[in-house]
Every structure is written in C-alpha cells, then in structure tokens.
Amino acid sequence: MSLLPSRGGGQAEPTRAAARTAARPQAVIHDSGQALRLRSLDATAVACGLRPGDALTDARARVPDLQVHREAPELEAALLASLADWCDRYTPLVALEAPDRLVLDITGCAHLHGGEAGLMADALARLQRQGFAVRAAIADTAAATRGLACHATSVQQPGVLVPEGEVRKALAPLPLAALGIAPEAVAALSAVGLTRIADILGQPRAPLAARYGLELLRRLDQALGEAGESISPRLAPPLILAERRLFEPVARLEDIEAILLSLGGQVSDALERRVEGGRLFEFTLFRVDGHVQRLMVGTSRPLRGGAALLSLFRQKLKADEGALEAGFGFDLLRLAVLEAQSFTPHQTSLEGGCLEGGCLGGGSFGGAGEDATTDLAGLVDRLGARLGLARVARFMPVDHHLPEARVHLVPAASVADAALAWDCEPRPGGEAPLTRPLRLLVPAEPVDAVAIVPEGPPLRFRWRRALYRVARSEGPERLAPPWWLGAGGAGRLPETPGEPVHMPTRDYYRIEDEEGRRFWIYRDGLYERETADPRWFLQGVFA
C-alpha cells in the first residue's frame, strides 16, 4: 500500500506560501526552450481557468494579476527530501520519486495510526497544516496509488482509499494516462477510441502488445498487482526501532534526555534478545513544524545499555552546541539501531554483574586487562562521538613505496589491532641511520635547491623563504612510482581527473643543515632522462 502526496504537494517555497495567502493566483513557470510555460498552479489560478502547460504570455493576457515564480529544481528536491524525512514517522520505507511524489510502503504500519483511513487523514491534515496542497491514495499496489492520487482525487476529496482487492474496480473509470504510460501511447490509444482503463481491461492482450508495446501491459499488470514492482526506499530500514509519540511536544534538553534514556532501555532489551550489540545508532527528532533532525553515533564495539547510549549522544550534543533547535518542541522521538553485531556480555563479578556498555562514566578501577580494553574502547567512543569517528585514527600500513601512500589513516573504532602490524618495517640497528622521517609534510613543499653535480645532493636550499646550508648528507635513495604511473610507463592507463599527470622517479636525500636540522628532500625526476630541469621538494623532517 502506498500514500502519495501528488502534484502540488512537492512544490517549492513560493507555492507553499501561496497556499496560505491565496490572495492572488500563483504559478510556477518552466522554460521549455521555446516558451515559458506554466508548470504548476495553485487553486486560485486553476479557478481562473488556467491549466498547466499554458504559455505564460497567454496566461498573463487572461489573468493579468498572475504571480509567477521560476522553478527551482534544487529547492524542490530539498523540500521533497525533507518531506520524505518527515514521512518517516509513518513508516521507515519511504521512496522519493522526483519531482513531486513520495511512495510509502505502509504494510504493517497502518494499525499504529488508527488504520489506513486514520493514517491517511492524519497525514493529509498535518501536511495541509504545514501549507502544502497534497493528494493521497492508498491501494494494493504502488502503480495504482500513483494513478489514483493523480486522477481520482479532487480538492474536495484529497484522499482516496481503495479497500483490499478492489483495485480493478477503482482503476476502471480512470483515464489511461493514470497508468503512467508515455503520452504518445495515450494519444495512439485514444485515436481508436480507448480512453479509459476499463476500455482495455477486457481486451485480448496479444493484439494490445503487438500494437502499443509491452510497456502498456506491464504497467497495467503492475497496477493490478499481477506483476511485481519494488519501490526503492530512501533510507535503509533500521534493525531495531523504538519511538515515543508525545501528545504535548517537549523542548527541554532534560526531557529529551529522559526519553532517550528510556528508548535506549527498550532498544537494549531488543538487542539483548538478539544477543547483539549496536554499532551505529540514530536518534531522530521530529519537530512539530515538520522539521526533522537526526543525530548519529557510531561505536568502536558492540554496545547496549541506555545510560551508555545517553552519554554518547550527550557528547554529540555537546560537540556542536545549539545544533538541536527545539523551536516549538518535538512531538516524536525515535531511536534506531542501524548496525548491530553479535555481543556476548562478560560476567565480571561473582554476584552476576554484567558488563553492559562499559564504563563510560569515567573509568573503572576494578579488574585487570578486560577493564583496560573497555576503558580504551569507551574513550575512543567518546572522542568519536564528539569529533567524528574518522578523526580518531590509527596508522594502517599500506604496501606502497611512495612515503605519502605508505600509511593509511583508518578510524580507530573500525579497525582490528591485527591489521596494524608494523613489524615488517625494517628497524635500523646500531649506528645505521634513520631512513624515514619522524614527520611527513603532505603535500611535499617545493624548495629552491642548488647542487654542484646535477645528480648529486644539494649544497644549499631555500625552504619557506629561509636559506639552509647543507653540512651533511646521505643518499640518494631512489623511489620510483609504480610502472603504470611512471613517466615512461608503457601500459599507461587512460588519465582520470584524480590521477597525477606526471610521476617521475624520485631521488631522496637525508640532509643536515649547519645548525643541525635534519630534513628529507628529493629531486623529482632523473636528470636528463626524465626532465631537463628537476625540481626539489622537502617532504619530511627528521628528529
């Protein structure tokens, strides 16, 4: 079953305001290339006799005080997306169909809102109160609701509810355009006198398919439920969901936190039954005026427990203060688990106390190694919740010779210790020198260097406008890019925008200036073989 706000519903701001004032006829125009044409109209404009598709010049002549707005597809898309967000309150399966249609799969959800009729009435009333002109239909199939919402509704009766199994009867009187077929096909059918769906329902299928294509029959079957059609929901449905609807909106942070705590308890119970812990949680706040805010929190290990969740969301709220705009308050709060993982609690004491969600409050001093890992995971979670998980990183080795590609920073919450083994890296012993710098500048900074021998180490160089005289040097260490990226590479891949155009061989020198600063600089390109005028770069700083 689905529910459809129809044309006029997903309009950009101008029409929304117009519905409130309704003093002058309003229209959104569309530039078709040859002429400006009306695209959508408000009720007053329709009453004046205008129709979508009329040329703007004609319309102006007939209705001089017509107020015109240019279409703004991005704004409309954003508005429709925010409406889809809002529709999340009815079902997690909301599909967005640009430019102005939402399809909701309300299977199994309707009873929560007073049945199908109650749900539709509620949605229509709330959306109309927000200033939208909206039409809706509930039927067995998505294709049927699209047709019904566009062609079976009127201003007086914006919602159509087709009881189960009566789709065929409801669709029969509708024009063929309600099937969503191409206008040429509609015109071709009407040329032989077939204008309504009823006209083709009884016809033999083979001749119809032969003359008007398989598309017509496919659409018809989809509308009648004889062929399947899947909608693509905007957001993945959550694994577990707990929500609280409020008769009286709440705006105080304390109230929200109290509700979050109790929702966290419900979610944790559900997780416990599945012997799982959540890795990604989403807290959604629906404001009374239709605005929807989402807070997401990821964790480094499976977690459950209301208090632990609350403390993570508190960090999130603290990170960007004032992010939560309560306005007139929230009337629906929802906590969802988007990702979960199996999680067996550890018994930590003889009394049967369980370790649930760790000790996020500030460190426990009880046990041994177990506590230390929990402490650390809690710390990573707290930091990640406030700064963003990607900003709490660890060094992962990458099998690559170029220094800037040797290390990959991965979120600490999502990486196993085993992936971070650096043992394979050689460690110079005795007096063997350090060959890799302690700090790496990314990107490497160009320097003006003077070398006596073209292929030798530099004598002096200028970095960040200061001159350095080289007192000691070691090298070169020659690092070449992979052959498929190299300057003379035979099997060169076609150039993509992100790919460096020219990657010559590098000769690295470790140098020390007269004052004892140690740097890592390289000459970009082999002299006279790859480039006539090699450039120098400073890439690293040694201890």
Binding site: G363, A372, L434, R436, L440, V442, E514, R517, A543
Partner: protein
C-alpha cells in the same frame, strides 16, 4: 599497571629503567612486580638526577616541550618522542596523540615508518585530528582521565588562546589523578607560564659522529660527511622538582635510549636558581612564533 594506588604514589617511588624492568629498588614489596611506578628513568644520569629523588621523569604529570621556531619541529618532536618512547616501554597501553590543525599544516603529521624506526610502535598510537585547538585540548583531557593509556601527547602551533594557565592546570590535575603522563609539544611558540612540572626547550644540534672505520677519518659522500645519531640541545628551563639545566642529548634509536654524548663540550651547565631560557635562534627567521599578548 595503569593505576598506581595513591599509597604507593605517596610513599617511596619505585623505579623502572628504560627496559621496563623494575630497578633494584631497596623496598621491593611486590607492588613493583606489577610495575606500579610513578617515575620513568630516561637513562641519562644528568637528567634523572635533576628530578625528585633522582629517579627520573615523573609520570602522572604534565611535561612541556617547545621551540620558538616552527622549523625546529624535528627537535621538538624528537625530544618529546624520546620521552614518550621511554614511557611507552614501561607502561602498557596506547598513546593518545592529539594534533592541532595548525601543526598538521606547519609541521606535518607523524610518519608511521619514521616512528617505528625511531623506536615507538605506530600501532600503539591513536591519532586525534582535531578541528580546533579546543577540541584537541578536550581530547587530551579525556585521555588523561583514562588510566588504560600509556601516555597522552598534544601538539599545538603558535600562540593558542585556549591553552592558558587554567587549561594546563586542568591537564596537570587530570594527569595526577590518573597517573597518565601528558606531554605538551608546542611548535613555534615562546615559553608561556603554565602548570607543567617540567618545561623543556628543544633546539637542533649537529648529529653525532659516524665511525664506520675505527680510527679513520669521518666517512662521507663527496663533500659531505654522513649523518650520525640524532642530537638536540635541550634546555630544561623550568623544573618544579629541582634545578634547571642545559645539555645536549643524543637518541640511540637502536637501543631506544637517551644519552648525553661525552664528546661535546660544556655538557651540563646547571644553573642553581631560576630559569635560564635558551638563546633565540639565528638571524634568519622563517616563521617566528606569535608572541603572547
């Protein structure tokens, strides 16, 4: 063990040398077996002797290492990491390393293969890439509350308004409560008042000699001799536990050990009273640190 009971901390400090083995302390009560300790020896008698009881750098305290010029970031990182490596050898757990965005721009990020060669396992580092200095400070404070960490490192560049006396006092208190040492690395900033237990200034120094052939002349390539072990001129210009000092320190990465090289002249010129800051750098100033106020 991350946490040392307050009683042990207040009493006679146990000693741990760089290899992580408890030194032959006289009162080996068994607590030392678990590694309970609030000090770490750096292995340089000249430095260890400057601290209380002559027992080395205090854990559970704030230590600051800085330099006036941002181009001396290598010396600051080197000296700081030498301390961190010494701590990481004696304490289990991870090292939380918070970076201010300006440091990432001016001095770059720590390079994992370089850390490995220097003597600190990159797998033990959790890097926090803060967007603002305030965030980095907050992360450091959270880290200093977590006894499971081996150490907390925070890097800042230039004058940071958020890093005032209150902030450093808070860090210092957190470190005392949890026993986790906190190292504050300040690049391109003049010394400011703070609550740090020790404050070091790091300056580059010519590296040690290379002696591949015993008795022979210094080996080299063309006109340049080779580079030896990393050395820095370190000035301990504030020490709440003892006197200040200036000395040249050398890092032997193979042994993960600090040393005061014997060859260099005027090693220790300990001034009995008052700070004696290092002389400002040369006349060529690339990016001088913004002066406070």
């Amino acid at each position: 063990m991350p946490v040392s009971p307050p009683a042990a901390r207040a009493g006679k400090p146990a000693r741990v040398d760089l290899a992580g083995k408890p030194a032959q302390a006289k009162s080996d009560t068994g607590q030392d077996k678990a590694g309970a300790s609030d000090r770490v020896r750096l292995g340089v008698p000249e430095v260890d002797g400057l601290m209380a009881c002559g027992a080395g750098l205090a854990l559970g305290a704030l230590h600051e290492i800085g330099a006036d010029e941002s181009r001396d970031c290598g010396a600051v990182s080197g000296l700081g990491l030498a301390f961190v490596a010494a701590v990481a050898r004696s304490r289990p757990g991870q090292v939380l390393w918070a970076c201010d965005p300006m440091v990432r721009r001016e001095a770059g990020l720590p390079h994992a293969p370089g850390l490995w060669q220097f003597g600190l396992d990159p797998a033990r580092i959790i890097l926090v890439l803060a967007r603002r200095p305030e965030e980095a400070l907050w992360a450091m404070e959270e880290g200093a509350r977590c006894p499971a960490l081996a150490a907390v490192v925070g890097e800042f560049h230039g004058f940071v308004r958020a890093l005032d006396l209150t902030a450093s006092r808070r860090l210092s208190l957190r470190a005392q409560e949890s026993g986790v040492p906190v190292f504050l690395l300040r690049h391109g900033a003049v010394a400011e008042p703070g609550a740090a237990l020790t404050r070091w200034r790091a300056a580059p120094a010519a590296s040690g000699p290379v002696s591949l052939a015993p008795g022979g002349s210094e080996p080299g390539m063309g006109r340049h001799p080779f580079i030896g072990l990393s050395r820095w001129r370190a000035a301990l210009d504030r020490n709440r536990e003892g006197s200040s000092a200036r000395l040249t320190l050398e890092w032997s990465h193979a042994a993960s050990r600090l040393a005061a090289p014997a060859a260099s002249d005027a090693l220790v010129s300990a001034t009995a009273a008052g700070p004696d800051p290092a002389a400002a750098g040369g006349e060529l100033v690339a990016f001088p640190g913004r002066r406070a106020g």
